[in-house]
Symmetry: none
Subunit: 136 residues, 2 copies
DNA sequence: CTTGACTCCGTAGTAGGGTACGGAGTGTAG
DNA sequence: CTACACTCCGTACCCTACTACGGAGTCAAG
């Protein structure tokens, strides 16, 4: 594997050069070796790592959570189970969101139905859809 | 219903006092009447409204979108046809969000299904799956 | 050997969504 | 009537996740 410049890595990973440097500053990717000129020298592990970050972000993980995920991986002691746990927590989170959205959807449907003419405009179904759910 | 101070409203809604004032500045909650001293006087509609904002935020709506959602309700008595149109646009928006989340959920479920939950992290199929997925 | 793209770095700015500060006035329980 | 918590306001600051800027040095094609 030949050395890649930051621009190549960025292109292959689908992000901007500045984003790569940003991820490095944030500790999401390791500091790569440098040429005598100071140019960063990457291998394609860096590309895969940035793709990992991108995908995890699309799944709703924050950079902080992604850093934790990557740290898990870096530590050979940790087990696969821990990773799975995180993913399962995420699933629960996402499922809750879906349910709440369905309630909002229902409220909006009711709203438009009452707009159709008949029936009184019932006391705000939109607010009612999400009012409670104590704290969270 | 007796008048509530900003602090009480904040506590009951689960946000900080500054956040209530911020939402007022942003037009997410109406400007309440004031006592002669300038103190804001709320009723519990304000609490419900802020709770609504909190939940909607958790569902990924921006404050701008939430403002629009709330505006729908405010206008519900006046111009039905227009409101209905807006509401229908919002329904589409919500349905899109639900679909996005279902896609995310599916991806996560597949990921965890592939993982037996034991063994070292080095062999974790979840992390491996996140790595590849050419480009996207 | 020139030229033009690429890289270096630090700093600063963006948008969205708050959170904190500080000094002065207000409300209320004891 | 005195504490002490609460409220007022404006301004400034924080975090997240980038994105841009600018001046100087580097690399590789022609």
């Amino acid at each position: 594997m030949k050395a890649l410049t930051i621009g190549t890595v960025a292109r292959q990973a689908g992000v901007g050069v500045e984003t790569v440097r940003f991820y490095e500053r944030e500790g999401l990717i390791p500091q790569p070796p440098r040429r005598p000129s100071g140019y960063r020298q990457y291998d394609d592990g860096a590309v895969r790592r940035i793709r990992f970050i991108r995908h995890a972000k699309q799944l709703g993980f924050s950079l902080r959570q992604i850093r934790e995920l990557l740290a898990l991986r870096a530590d050979a002691q940790t087990s696969c189970a821990e990773v799975k746990e995180q993913a399962e927590a995420k699933i629960a989170e996402v499922e809750q969101k879906i349910q709440d959205l369905q309630r909002i959807r229902q409220a909006l449907v009711e709203l438009t139905a009452s707009c159709a003419g008949r029936g009184p405009v019932s006391a705000c179904p939109i607010l009612e859809a999400l009012e409670d759910n104590t704290t969270s």
